[in-house]
Amino acid sequence: MSETFIAGAGMVRFGKYPADITLENLAVRAAREAIADSSAAPADIEAVYMGHVFGGPVAGQRVAVQLGLGGLPVSNHENYCASGATAIREAWIAIKAGLYDIVLVIGAEKMTDRVAGGVMPDPADLDAINGLVMAANHGMSARRYMHDHGATREQIAAVAVKNHAHSVHNPYAQYQRPISLNEVLDARIIAEPLGLLDCSPISDGAAAVILCSKAGLAKLKIGSAPRIAGCALVSGKVVSSTSGLNDEDVSRRAAEQAWNISGYGPKDIDLVEMHDCFTIAEIVRLEGLGLIPVGEGGVWTENGNTSLGGKLPVNTSGGLLSRGHPVGATGVAQICELTWQLTDRAGARQVEEARLGLAYCKGGTVSGTDGGSVTVLMVER
């Protein structure tokens, strides 16, 4: 089975774009960056994978034709906020299977002209009838986490302060200014106890990577490139009243699969791109993966252990909170960040001697379960 490498990465700055900057436009610009970064010619690309949620039918084909890649196998991948990561996993599987040597993966989303007030489960899901905005789930998670572990509101808010401090150095981030703890604490409440700055924004954006087999790398005359050490995907299971609200069994199961595929374990990870759709989510998911001790995530954040320069830097890109969260693009943007980190191109946010990075996405909710989809992707130098 062929190993899979990341030969190129590119994205557009995440943010709020006007109506005439379409999904296709964003996706084409990100794809061009990734293709140029890999030095591939359009004719080298054998297939296109596109992750998106709100892009409508055959969005990937609409983009591919604008890239001059019409005629290729193109597939669209929807796993809510894990859509981009799922598209990468599908491409990784195809390369491992020996089907292709060079493929393009795009994650793209145009949200600001079609989503307002927060994202919701599918209307057919029971939770939607009850008015479960995503923020409410995480508000309940935060409340229970504080109750169980004595964590403070300030410790949870510190996740937003940290991630905004990181993306001051990320030219692709939606927000590039530091915020204070008081700004987070004083922001208007969205779902108690979480306020506006505990929530990732509704964003537009696109990110892309070129994935290659060893033969693909040789064809592009690339000597070395970061290697995908494994891609895990799990889905939620029914929870019972005897489990903890923040057990994160879905994260534990995703991590277990990632360790089994890659041969690595939690102690080997040098940096993390974590799905911090809400501040508390970064904390409980890091704990669920076994990267930090259960109940200590608040203290770890407050002490700077998860900051750039700390024991385990988390979200050097700014994460979803500050890089922005165009849902289908996020998983691919995470892999762009790991690629830049592992090729020493992360500038002022570079993690020294980073060798192995982990990226986590969680997409959607299903009533009565511990989640929709969870991906754990691992990339090594």
Binding site: I129, R144, I190, G368
Partner: protein, 131 residues
């Protein structure tokens, strides 16, 4: 004038007589919510319809203050744990806290095209359980 009827908003979730509806699996003995064709835990089709207990305890809660336009804020949401093993999300009335006892309450939520009232469930905080 036709009689205004009371109907459940979804009859796999509540009945006006029995409250919250669920299933128990005769293969693995586990309960799930709401009524489904197959056991959510093991996939068996050997399931029996049951109703959930009338009371549970709040695992966690939040007050939602921003939501898409069709939802009127603020509203309280709770996750409730039942003795049969089910954990159920719903709206809540009253001064709920972690560990609060709550009862299942049915109420008219919407009106359908024929003018019938469609009923749904929510939880109400109570001081202590009824024995």
């Amino acid at each position: 004038m036709t009689q205004i009827e009371k109907t459940p908003l979804r009859d796999d979730v509540i009945s006006l007589e029995d409250g919250l509806l669920g299933i128990v699996c005769t293969a693995c003995r586990r309960h799930s919510f709401p009524q489904r064709l197959l056991c959510l835990h093991c996939g068996s089709d050997q399931v029996e319809n049951v109703s959930l207990p009338e009371q549970g305890r709040v695992c966690s809660w939040t007050v939602v203050r921003q939501a898409p336009e069709h939802l009127k804020t603020p509203y309280t949401l709770v996750t409730v744990d039942f003795e049969d093993g089910n954990r159920v999300l719903g709206a809540a009335e009253g001064n709920v806290r972690i560990g609060s006892p709550v009862t299942v309450e049915l109420y008219p939520k919407t009106v359908d095209e024929s003018g019938n009232s469609q009923w749904w469930y929510r939880f109400r905080e109570v001081e202590e359980f009824n024995e």
